[in-house]
Symmetry: C2
Subunit: 202 residues, 2 copies
C-alpha cells in the first residue's frame, strides 16, 4: 500500500524547493559593480545590502512606513530576475527598464518562482512583490527609493560604473533616479546629490 | 567663520560610511559553494539567503520567536567577517570556529564596524549582534539554527562541498551541525537528516 505523504513533510519539501531555487539569484549579474569596482554585483548580495539600507536609513522613512515590511519586500524584490535577468536602468537609453515586455516576463517569473511555495506563502510573498512593483503604498515607495540609491553609491565609489558604461548625463540621472529617490526619501537624495554632483562637473 | 555641520548631514555621513563599508562583506568568501557548485559563496549573499530562510521557515519557529527580529539579526550576523573572515565550521577538525582567539577578533571587529554608525544605531545593532552570538534568546537560537541549515543544503546539492573538503563523518555532522539545528528547529533537522543521511551511506 502506498504511504500517504506526511503533510508536514510535503510542506517542507515545497519550502526547500523554493529556497534552493532562490540560490540562483546569486548568479544573476547586475550592470553595477561592487563599491571597489572589483567585479559586477549579483542580485542576491544586492538584496542583502538593500535590507541593510532599510535598517540603517529607517529614520528617513515617513512615520507611516513599516521598516520590517520594507525589509521583507527588499529581500524578495529581485527574485523574478532568476528567469528574466537584471534590466539595467540606464540601458536602451533608459527605456528598457519599465517596458511592457519586461513587465510581462516578470509576471510569468513571479508565477513560477513564488508558485514553488506552499499556497499560503506563495500568496503572501506574491502580494508583497506586487505591492513593491506597483510603488504606490508608503512601504513600497520607500523600498523603491532605497533600490535606486544603492547603485548611485556603487557608481560614485567605483569611479563612474554604469554612468560611464551608458554615458549618463546629470539630467538623465536626475530624471531616471533622483526623482524616484526624492519621492520616497527626499533628504537622502539631497545628501546623495551633494556627493554626486561634482562627478558630473556640477 | 567655519560652518557648523548640519546634524542631519553628519548623521547621513555616518550612515553611509557604514553602508559603504558593509559592501566589503560581498568579498568575504565562505568555504561553502553555491548550490550548483559553480563558485564559493560570499557572506553578503549568504546573509540574504538566510533572511529569506527566516521568511520561508517562519512556521517552524516556536511561538515566542519574532521573525522580524530574526531577519534583522541574520542581516547583521556576519558583518564582523569583513575584518576576521569566515571561519569554516568543519575546519581545524571542528575546533577553529568557536576559539577564544576568533571570538576576541570578532569583538574588535564589531567595535570598529558598528562604531561607524551614529551612536543610537551603533548601540542597537551591536546589541542584536551580541544577542545572536550568545545564542540564548529564542530569536537567537532560531536564527543560529537557520545559519546551520543553509550550508547543509548547499553541500548536499553541490555533491559534498565542505563535507568532502574536510572529510566530515556523519557523527561529526550530527554533533557540529545537527544538534544545533535541532535545538532551534527540530522538525527542520528531521527533514534535512532524511535528505542527507544517504550521502553518508546511511
Ligand atoms: Ca533591485
Amino acid at each position: 500500500m502506498p504511504q500517504t505523504p506526511d503533510p508536514q513533510t510535503s510542506r517542507l519539501d515545497a519550502q526547500f524547493a523554493f529556497l534552493n531555487e532562490a540560490d540562483r539569484l546569486k548568479s544573476v549579474l547586475r550592470a553595477t559593480t561592487l563599491c571597489d569596482g572589483s567585479r559586477r554585483e549579483n542580485s542576491g548580495e544586492h538584496s542583502w545590502h538593500l535590507a541593510l539600507y532599510a535598517m540603517v536609513l529607517a529614520d528617513q522613512a515617513p512615520p507611516d512606513v513599516s521598516i520590517d515590511r520594507v525589509i521583507r519586500m527588499l529581500i524578495l524584490h529581485d527574485l523574478v530576475e532568476i528567469d528574466v535577468g537584471d534590466v539595467p536602468i540606464h540601458s536602451a537609453n533608459g527605456a528598457a527598464h519599465a517596458s511592457l515586455e519586461t513587465q510581462a516576463a516578470e509576471q510569468r517569473a513571479a508565477d513560477r518562482i513564488f508558485g514553488l511555495l506552499p499556497a499560503d506563502l506563495a500568496h503572501s510573498f506574491r502580494a508583497l512583490w506586487d505591492e513593491f512593483e506597483a510603488a504606490e503604498t508608503p512601504d513600497a515607495v520607500f523600498a523603491k527609493s532605497l533600490d535606486r540609491v544603492q547603485p548611485v553609491l556603487a557608481n560614485l565609489l567605483s569611479g563612474g560604473g554604469t554612468w560611464t558604461t551608458y554615458s549618463v548625463t546629470w539630467d538623465q540621472l536626475e530624471s531616471r533616479v533622483g526623482n524616484k529617490i526624492a519621492r520616497g526619501a527626499p533628504r537622502i537624495w539631497d545628501w546623495v546629490k551633494a556627493q554626486v554632483r561634482p562627478f558630473f562637473g556640477g
